[in-house]
């Protein structure tokens, strides 16, 4: 085994598993993102900057579901976290070579500059081991910027609804994108969801029925609201498409929360990975 470079960064951690699916999804959702490492979780974060069009993302996985070995040490005992900024595609590419790996290790190293070193042991046909290493450059985010990267608060939604099959949604939105830049997403408590686009010449609406609504958190809110009344948000269609393009597999659970004219919040669960994606209303 090759000798690892000494680490003199806030932490060292050793992972042992294969997680290409998540990194592929992240690579489609965000070009650059932040990886937050804490003792029990890994998060991929995109914070709501103007550059993203105000979109933000919070993806979480419990490390024990993925890794057989996990060690980390944060900046200090109170701040036992590490925040790294990286180009998502670099990670997904590196992990792609690990599809049939015998062993995979990810380590934070410092070779001239901080890197996430992915080391993969492949078994070749001739039964000899081949070692592949990828050094992915990362930027360690200083503690003073951590406040911008906190888990976003889930807004009180006017309507919560289960989403239809995402692939279907994606093919519809893809066609709509050719007609308009904006899309209205609206839903009600009767399990109905509409995707609407309007231009001077044409209006197109796709209706989804019988989707079902998750049980509401606050009883009062659901009593007051007329079940047929739609809550709507007008959003940038490309953001929605980008989100849908990242979903290769239909999730175990997919909920859409709408705050009228403010924000649409997608809450997905893919087996052990939870993903939250926020698209603000187009202003």
């Amino acid at each position: 085994m090759p000798h690892w470079a000494p680490v003199n960064l806030p932490a060292a951690f050793l992972l042992h598993s294969v997680t290409p699916g998540v990194s592929n999804m992240i690579a489609k959702l965000a070009k650059t993102c932040t990886l937050r490492i804490s003792p029990d979780k890994l998060n991929f974060i995109l914070s709501d900057k103007v550059a993203n069009g105000g979109v933000s993302m919070w993806c979480e996985l419990e490390q024990e579901n993925f890794f057989s070995e996990f060690q980390m040490e944060g900046v200090s005992a109170e701040n036992n976290e590490i925040y790294l900024e990286l180009t998502s595609e670099n990670l997904s590419r590196a992990l792609k070579t690990a599809q049939n790996a015998r062993a995979l290790k990810i380590k934070l190293t410092n070779k001239h500059f901080p890197c996430l070193t992915v080391s993969i042991e492949l078994l070749s046909v001739s039964n000899s081991s081949r070692i592949v290493t990828h050094d992915i450059p990362v930027r360690v985010i200083p503690r003073k910027l951590w406040k911008d990267l906190r888990e976003p608060t889930v807004p009180d939604a006017d309507v919560s609804i289960y989403l239809p099959v995402l692939k279907t949604m994606k093919s519809i939105v893809e066609k709509m994108k050719n007609i308009s830049n904006h899309l209205i997403i609206e839903a009600n408590l009767n399990g109905e969801l509409n995707l609407k686009i309007e231009t001077e010449l044409v209006c197109v609406t796709t209706h989804f029925k019988d989707l079902g609504n998750p049980p509401s958190a606050s009883e009062d809110a659901s009593q007051d609201r007329n079940p047929g009344q739609m809550a709507e948000v007008r959003i940038d269609i490309r953001r929605l498409l980008q989100f849908l393009a990242g979903q290769q597999v239909n999730p175990t659970k997919a909920v859409c929360n709408i705050v009228s004219n403010k924000i649409v919040h997608f809450d997905l669960l893919h087996e052990d990975v939870s993903l939250q994606y926020f698209i603000p209303a187009f202003s």
């Binding site: 650059t32 180009t87 670099n90 590419r93 590196a94 792609k96 070579t97 001239h112 500059f113 890197c115 492949l122 070749s124 046909v125 001739s126 000899s128 081991s129 081949r130 070692i131 592949v132 290493t133 990828h134 050094d135 992915i136 450059p137 930027r139």
Partner: protein
């Protein structure tokens, strides 16, 4: 004059060869001879050369002859000096899988009266598709390179290389091969200034037992262009033959070859030289005094000494593009055009004029912090009189003196 025919599955291999050569350059020479049909390609900065020679037994039938031109009182026989644009020929050999399925027979022949190559596909259901491609009259180039004299030779199954290729992103232009007698490592080239946000450094170690043949005479690390490696790899997967890699030290060209009973493919690539070494090292080869440029360096004076002592292998020439493959801009083209296109010309009489070519001085970027030197291949014009060439192997080369004594007896191979 060329006339040959092949079956659907042979068309696939032929098409794959063209695709591999298209990665080298936008132009393709069709060069038939008694040895078979050679497809040749050279890139504009003369740092990569590809040649695939299909032997006559590859084809269902193969006929070749030189055309005899009556010229005043003289008759000179000339080869088919045929240069095609990749843009014209590549689309014909697209969708190779469907060609393999549908084509029953493919005929390629040249029309002696016009500068045209005719490619005819006789397909299923009685469909016949004919392509007439105009060609430019141009003498093909070939590289003089003694691959068997290289200290390091590796022979590997294409599948193994294919696994390595996946590691590198298409944005990485260059890749480094580092060898010792115990290990082989393929890694991202570390010479480029690292852009922190995007470049991943990858490396893969392959043990000696994975190679069909492993001979390392000298520890070496060579850096070369990734694009051509991919090209030859896809071709070798089509031929199911292993790839041989011949190389020495950085700066000296390397050869990637496939040798099979029916065809022989050779891709000669320039490698990056180590910065400290001067291009005009003793290994530099002689250059023709006929050449128009005052460069290179001291080669002219050494020419007389070197020509007798060493078999010609390559010219090391000081060039300073920032990368192995400078972006092909207009200046490249004009610089090459200013050479007076020696490549195109054929000397009168028996001797062929040397086509000395390399990236010209106009490529130098003054003050560039990353002066690169890499070797260029030495090209010889293909003489039409093959017999004559066998007698005087160095006619294709420029020699310092015209006297016969300077001829070297050493053998070398031309591709």
């Amino acid at each position: 004059m060329l006339k040959c025919g092949m079956s659907g599955s042979q068309v696939k291999v032929f098409g794959k060869a063209i695709q591999a050569l298209s990665r080298v350059s936008d132009e393709l020479w069709l060069d038939p001879s008694e040895k078979g049909l050679a497809l040749r390609s050279v890139n504009s900065c003369r740092s990569a050369y590809g040649c695939v020679l299909f032997s006559p037994v590859f084809f269902q039938h193969y006929q070749w002859s030189t055309s005899v031109k009556m010229n005043d009182n003289d008759s000179t026989s000339s080869n088919l000096n045929c240069k095609l644009g990749m843009k014209s020929i590549l689309p014909i050999f697209r969708c190779l899988n469907s060609l393999e399925r549908n084509v029953e027979k493919c005929k390629i022949f040249t029309r002696s009266d016009k500068c045209k190559v005719v490619i005819e596909f006789l397909c299923r259901h009685g469909i016949r598709r004919t392509h007439n491609v105009c060609f430019q009259e141009s003498q093909p180039l070939q590289v003089i390179f003694e691959k068997n004299m290289c200290s390091n030779t590796l022979v590997i199954q294409p599948r193994v290389l294919a696994e390595a290729i996946v590691l590198f992103t298409s944005s990485q232009e260059e890749v480094t091969l580092a060898v010792t007698p115990l290990s082989v490592c393929l890694k991202s080239s570390s010479d480029e200034p690292v852009d922190v946000t995007s470049s991943v450094y990858s490396e893969m170690f392959v043990g000696p037992d994975e190679f069909d043949f492993f001979q390392i005479g000298v520890d070496s690390e060579i850096t070369f262009c990734f694009k051509e490696l991919k090209g030859i790899l896809t071709f070798s997967e089509a031929t199911h033959a292993p790839i041989a890699i011949h190389f020495d030290f950085p700066g000296k060209p390397m050869a990637l070859s496939i040798d099979d009973m029916l065809l022989e493919a050779n891709f000669i690539l320039a490698t990056l030289a180590d910065e400290p070494s001067r291009a005009s090292s003793p290994q530099s080869l002689c250059l023709s005094p006929k050449q128009k440029r005052s460069e290179p360096l001291s080669s002219n004076s050494e020419a007389g000494k070197n020509v007798t002592s060493k078999a010609p292998e390559c010219i090391l020439r000081k060039v300073a593009p920032k990368r192995l493959y400078p972006k092909e801009t207009l200046t490249d083209v004009s610089a090459l055009e200013n050479c007076g296109s020696p490549i195109m010309k054929r000397a009168n009489g028996d001797r062929s004029e040397v086509s000395e070519s390399s990236v010209s001085d106009t490529e130098e970027v003054p003050g560039s912090p990353y002066l690169r030197k890499f070797s260029c291949m030495f090209f010889g014009a293909v003489s039409s009189n093959r017999q004559e060439r066998f007698n005087h192997p160095f006619d294709g080369l420029a020699t310092a003196s015209d006297s016969e004594e300077d001829m070297n007896d050493g053998s070398f191979s031309t591709f």
